[in-house]
Point group: C2
Chain length 489, copies 2
Amino acid sequence: MSLPLLLDHLKKVATLGQVAGIISWDQETMMPEKGATQRAEQTGVLAGLIHQLNTDPRIPEWVAAIDEKEISEFDKANIREATRDYNRSTKVPEDLAQTIAKASAEGQMIWSKAREAGDFQMFAPALEKLVQLKREEAQCLSNRQDNLYDALLDQFEPGAKTETLLPLLEELREPLVDLREKISEKPTSKRFMGHYPASKQLALAEKLAKQLGYDFDAGRIDISTHPFSSGGSGDSRITTRTDEKDPLNCLYSTAHEVGHALYAQGAPEPFLPAAQYCSMGIHESQSRFWENQVSRSRSFAEWLYPEMKSYFPDMNISSADEFYRAVNRVETGFVRTEADEVHYNLHVLLRFELERELISGDLEVKDLEAEWNKRFKKYFGLEVIDVKLGVLQDVHWSVGLFGYFPTYSLGNIYSACLDKAMLIDIPDRDQKIATGNTTQTLNWLRNKIHDKGKLLSAEDLIQSATGTTPSARPLIEYLEDKYGTLYDL
Amino acid sequence: MSLPLLLDHLKKVATLGQVAGIISWDQETMMPEKGATQRAEQTGVLAGLIHQLNTDPRIPEWVAAIDEKEISEFDKANIREATRDYNRSTKVPEDLAQTIAKASAEGQMIWSKAREAGDFQMFAPALEKLVQLKREEAQCLSNRQDNLYDALLDQFEPGAKTETLLPLLEELREPLVDLREKISEKPTSKRFMGHYPASKQLALAEKLAKQLGYDFDAGRIDISTHPFSSGGSGDSRITTRTDEKDPLNCLYSTAHEVGHALYAQGAPEPFLPAAQYCSMGIHESQSRFWENQVSRSRSFAEWLYPEMKSYFPDMNISSADEFYRAVNRVETGFVRTEADEVHYNLHVLLRFELERELISGDLEVKDLEAEWNKRFKKYFGLEVIDVKLGVLQDVHWSVGLFGYFPTYSLGNIYSACLDKAMLIDIPDRDQKIATGNTTQTLNWLRNKIHDKGKLLSAEDLIQSATGTTPSARPLIEYLEDKYGTLYDL
């Protein structure tokens, strides 16, 4: 009787998590301005209830009474995840959890003001406090006091350790710097110019989403300041945004969020911990795959260019090939979210090293801006003159998200691993993609990744899908090959 | 210490109620089709949690420990309502509550199919079951076994009793039948003809809402099959619908929902039981007031007609006076929701008597269709030939809503009482309304009704606002006066 009781309980937690997701989606897309105060209250009450359910003392009792030999792999994973959530939730005292929640809400507000004012020192005390609190949290969570960062990382990338992640990510640095330097000596490709009406961008975004396999009966697209995806299974929504001078922002943020949403729409039933996404790295691999390996590919340009042309007859790009070059334009810039595939991971590496040092105590918050600027100069060759485009550009640290950044690069690494394996299984994939047919691509990901939910660790999932251990090599090869051809290196 | 603990608890319940309201709004306006299954689950989990909080055994302990002499009127009302909710929630066994919830969900589905098929007998067994279950529920709730109906009524109109409601509502019958008959001998006014684009109707609806005082920073208008209002305070949303052949549907359903929403936006802070709406009758008095006493008035036609004309230059109505006549066209019909002010309460009286007899056992479900048709013929002079426009027209009974219908007529009665008192306090109100200025009107309702939340019973609230006991006389006089002039009686 313990297993059904446990599963019932877990279902309840997961369902409340969905509710929290809906009201958060509503907050970003629909909520009127004056609803903010009551919405904060609602979010807090739900978080409190979820915490209460996650720390229910019956959980370990139920788990102890279950004979693991008699149950499915899926339920074993449910038990593993329930135990994991129970441990994480009970190890951090409620006082500390609430202090962190409050400091995060305040942190974001102060960060937002400091960014507007272009003044890092205005933000420093709040960040200082958050670093201290996250260190305390990590101490509660960690069994190894020598690497607090891992305890934070584990929240987003279960089971990941700095000692394995670091070499994986650092392997990217040299080849990327090399590639970047070579490209910088070549002439850059054409930019999109002109005016692109928002309503047409949205219509095209919808068409693109459908073409990639996004099920509109199980989702919807709305507008928000920062694009995001939310929900799961039959209700997996995405948002996008438009910039009338730049149609690529809407187009590729849509492709990115569709990638997340295809993963969510493909989640196994019923909605229990083992059916949830494997890790943030895997989630990001899905978004990046559809954004880059599919939607920024030379093949897909054959489908996408004529579509673009039909929505924007006046656009200054006049062939599929020119389109392909324009959407893969490489240029060194200050901002991570605007970075091309060549620069993106270099931005992540910078943040990964800085946040590790902040948490370990090797770097003090007061020195963060100077260190950022120094290393940015070293890695990107550019002098940071505006802190808004420097250390204040990302929201993450202001809301206590330490250990999140590396999952972006993991996503890129994993997507390239999947791409390589998929091309062996489906040799004519790119011919299909050139006609807009992505069915086989989606089915492959459904079978290898989506159907698996959280049964395996991220590493094991990539291993099972590709037949080899995750490595940065496929990404390096993919980038060298793609940009080598594009820039005639 | 008991009071803060109790208030904290009540705040939590109210907050979860708001969350339930948001996901229900989302379901009607935004949710993709395939989200239905998980949404049902989410709604169920929230209802369960709310029930659990409402039946927390600490509630009566906290209440017992509070010294009522030392606290505010507002908190006395909070305690009264907490006790009321606790009693209602604990008196009905959870098994029965769940059976009713399930039977209601099924009932609505079967009703919907039976209505489509035009077959009452298809629906009869489900209704039979619901009547039986609601009788059981009423028995649990009632201290007086001789009037089960009151226990159901009390859910929507706290403290109301059939013995006071019946004479109040029945007083309407004779004058209304009389008025109806006199009007039927006169020529009817002009109908709206032509085509009214949905987008223009929505733009006008928004303009109307603003003009009536609806705060768009604390709400929004969307489309749904059946218009409704939801939420409260800083987040009070409404929906509307459009029919391109009939602009009045969108216009007046918007005015109606705006009336509800103005009440909700004016709710006192903080959001605790005493800050919630007084009763369904009072809520309906607000919607009907803005729909009828304001938006269907001769004065407001001076503002509304030119607006209509600017949105629909081709409309077949050519003066404010003709507009006023057209929006107050009286015609005997089968459907309550399409009824004019003269017929509306006669529709309610029919349902009120039938549902009392169903609950008392004086009428059996198998005879309901025949009884409906017989009495409809008697009261309206029309033969019901289509059950879809007869006993199957309303969703209420199919979801177990017995005791709800009379609150519609109470709303009409109360709105006329308020109208009469307001005109004494603001003698030039109608001149103001003729220019579109409704500020004084709204302020009067804010002071007399909205600010009071649930401090008083509906009866006492009307008494305090108008200086006299609620009576049907103001409504009868208002209708006789208005339609006497309109139809030259």
